[in-house]
Amino acid sequence: MIPKGERIGIVGVGYAGLADTKVRSAQEPSHTASSTTNTASASTNTTTTTTTPTPTAATSIRYSYKELMFLAARMAYEDAGIVDVRSKDRISFICSTEDFWEGNMISDEYMPDQLGAVLRPLCTVAADGLYGLITGFMQIRSGLVDVAVVEAHSKLSDVVSKKEIARFALDPVYVRGIYPEIDPYFIAGLEMNRFLYETGNSRESCAKVVSKNKGNALANPRACYASSVDISLVLSSPIVAYPLTSMEISSYADASIVVVLASEHKARMLKGSTDGIVWIDGVGWCSDTPWINDRNLADALYASLAAEMAYKMAGIEMDEPSKYIDLAEIDDTFSYKELQHMEALRLCRKGEASRLVEDGCTAMDGYMPVNPSGGSLGVGYLVEATGLHRVLEAVLQLRGMAGSMQVHGARRAVVQSWRGLPTASGAVAILSSNDS
């Protein structure tokens, strides 16, 4: 366990994004999809983002990713009690990006200005935002810096060729060679089928996850895909890659999220007390083999190994971690992933996830709420920002500021991310507001 006095705390969170930007592009006049298209004449439509520390989705479609980052960073610094970020010494900045999602071949070069990071240490981890958080955690823990600013964003509404890019992540010789036009979702179908077969979990409970998460999202101002759906609708939606249906796949959204970390000493100085500080009790991350055919597709081995590391660091007994945890914000890129990850994180035993979901144990008012934010299915899939978004939701919960999404008495949360298809890589963090 990390001794008191040496802990690292989350002192600020910021969010800018919009639920629907171009996701609902049907209503928009269509632009030709060239490599650069001018969506100018912005002057008439400059809705401002709220600058209160309660993040909501209220930005305009016309912000660029840089501008979204600026707005999120400003909110996070204010929340963290940082008056002038430019005057801070011993501060580091970390972004989580992948080039092709950005459309820039060395995407980190465009990050510093809008974060106040010019002539400061800034780096990119080509991974999910939760890896960025862990990077900041290690930098502070090593003694190198006192404060780390972590940013991740999704601006997938800028990307026309989403499918082509996703396919470009497949092994160039073996997998792309089999069927060049293949949709990478086939991997999710393979996994889901094997997972259900080995564990005995049901397709109905997968559909129930969709229904639960989209329902939870109704209370989340940052959610783009909130709705009340019942499981028959989910199961009868078109099959994309058997047994996965279209409604079991999370859809893309835009947002920038900024999280500010600080050493315990610095955190207390910035916040004036321990109020509002969320401690990072443990972190873990892991990668399984990149060969799809060599993996155990039923188990999310990367998640269990990452969780093991994080639980150990946090001093959580491995036999029943759910005793220690009040809520889980875990990856639900696809419906079955939530169940698979629950089991990998040992929130229940293998094969039990279905029952927990069916019994309502993972609902907002259950004993182990899973994805009270609405998850990726309800909020939207934020690619590399997904994990950091979960951190933001968990921080609001642990501060008791989650509004009508609030899980009562939430003191400790587990946050988990997965890097998406075709990877078997992911990270886990244990967060707490418990100061005893």
Binding site: S35, T36, N38, E98, D99, F100, G103, N104, M105, I106, D108, E109, Y110, M111, P112, D113, A117, V118, L119, R120, P121, L122, C123, T124, V125, A126, A127, Y131, I134, T135, F137, M138, Q139, R141, S142, G143, L144, I165, A166, F168, A169, D171, P172, G284, W285, C286, S287, D288, T289, P290, W291, L301, L305, A306, M309, R419, P422, T423, S425
Partner: protein, 388 residues
């Protein structure tokens, strides 16, 4: 600054650097990583975590290429992260490895850097088109070399440096590379040869620039306790620093690398270095173009502003000079598989400080060394200080 744990380099390895290699990126990673691990006398099972450094995905032709390369890097079943800061990646990846160990989270960390530039057709250069601003610059039909030529011209103008003086760097580094078994472009050339080589983007000429290459390089890092157990000659990482300047590069003074001065200040402060010129015995500074070695020596404070050319022409930076710079042969001589090239510099400092650089060993008794890399839109630098 109180650093939690001391970290040492205990092993290093690299592949040949060539224009095109038969090995895939994964296979090159494997060769470099296994050499690093074997040279430390341990096995991959002793590696607790892995960091990968690699530049744009566009080279290998795989999106999220860190995920694709991870089995080659020995990371299956381990905590694994890819870091990415453009051309600065090769020296930055070991810095990331450093905090994996210095934070107390791991006792060992394997750091692998790879670049397979030849996969991209018709020319690796094409990947760099995408580093320019998509709205304001790419429509002008940009080429990566433009910005370097603009920077070189500005540097020459402000300090009154000639193309001939700059050419000395290429002559020195390509000659040094004759002693490097992995070198791609080692040669004995003259200043006249450089001046006569065809301009690519004037004032940059063919012999002023490093080639695109395939290759990989790796180091194994260990905590103090572990290092003393497994290694006779650990080399300590005593200082790390990195910094980035504004992306609005046309708004900056290009003649002086302020970001490098910041990165160096961070690293020197951590290593307790007050007089770098007296304290740094050997330096591997980033030299993708000959003028960059000079530019970087000034940013590092190893030469006065505008005076790096003078000390180069005077032979001070030769392998047997008072302050050897790029005894490996640098990117100009050994080759430039982006991230792997930066890592090659870290390997070289490790070999120099442990007395294992063979024919490349500098004449002076080298105790403190520095490796540096540079990247993005001429705006990022990473610096690492090592001591034996």
């Amino acid at each position: 600054m109180i650093i939690k744990r001391k970290v040492a380099v205990v092993g290093a390895g690299m592949t040949l650097f060539r224009r095109r290699m038969l090995e895939t990126g994964k296979e090159m990673c494997f060769e470099a990583a296994s050499m690093a691990v074997e040279s430390a006398g341990v096995s991959i099972r002793d590696v607790d975590a892995v960091v990968l450094g690699s530049a744009p995905d566009a080279f290998d032709g795989v999106h999220m290429k860190g995920e694709y390369l991870l089995d080659g890097a020995g990371a299956v079943g381990k905590p694994y992260t890819r870091v990415f800061v453009g051309g600065g990646t090769g020296v930055f990846a070991p810095i990331a490895g450093w905090w994996h160990v210095a934070s107390g989270l791991f006792d060992t960390c394997l750091v692998v850097c790879e670049e397979k530039m030849s996969s991209l057709h018709p020319h690796p250069q094409h990947a760099f088109w995408g580093i320019f601003d998509h709205t304001l610059e790419r429509p002008l039909g940009v080429n990566l070399l433009w910005i370097f030529a603009l920077e070189m011209r500005r540097y020459m103008h402000l300090y009154g440096i000639s193309e001939e003086e700059i050419a000395y760097v290429a002559v020195k580094n390509k000659r040094n590379a004759l002693d490097h078994p992995c070198a791609q472009l080692a040669a004995r050339i003259t200043v006249e040869d450089v001046m006569r080589s065809e301009p690519i983007v004037w004032p940059i000429k063919r012999l002023d620039s490093s080639p695109p290459s395939d290759g990989a390089a790796a180091v194994l890092l260990a905590s103090e306790d572990t290092a003393r157990k497994i290694c006779k000659e650990p080399v300590w990482i005593d200082g790390v620093g990195w910094s980035i300047d504004s992306a609005y590069w046309t708004n900056r003074e290009l003649a002086y690398p302020a970001y490098l001065a910041e990165a160096a200040r961070m690293a020197y402060r951590m290593a307790g270095i007050e007089e770098p010129r007296r304290e740094i015995d050997v330096a591997e500074v980033y030299d993708p173009f000959s003028y960059k070695e000079l530019h970087h020596l000034e940013g590092l404070g190893l030469a006065d502003k505008g005076k790096a050319a003078e000390i180069t022409v005077a032979g001070i930076t030769e392998r047997d000079g008072d302050m050897p710079v790029n005894p490996s042969g640098g990117l100009l001589g050994v080759g430039n598989p982006i991230a792997a090239a930066g890592m090659m510099k870290v390997c070289e400092i490790f070999w120099q400080l442990s007395g294992n650089a063979g024919k490349r060993q500098v004449k002076k008794d080298a105790r403190t060394g520095l490796a540096q890399a540079w990247g993005d839109l001429m705006q990022f630098s990473s610096v690492i200080i090592m001591r034996s």
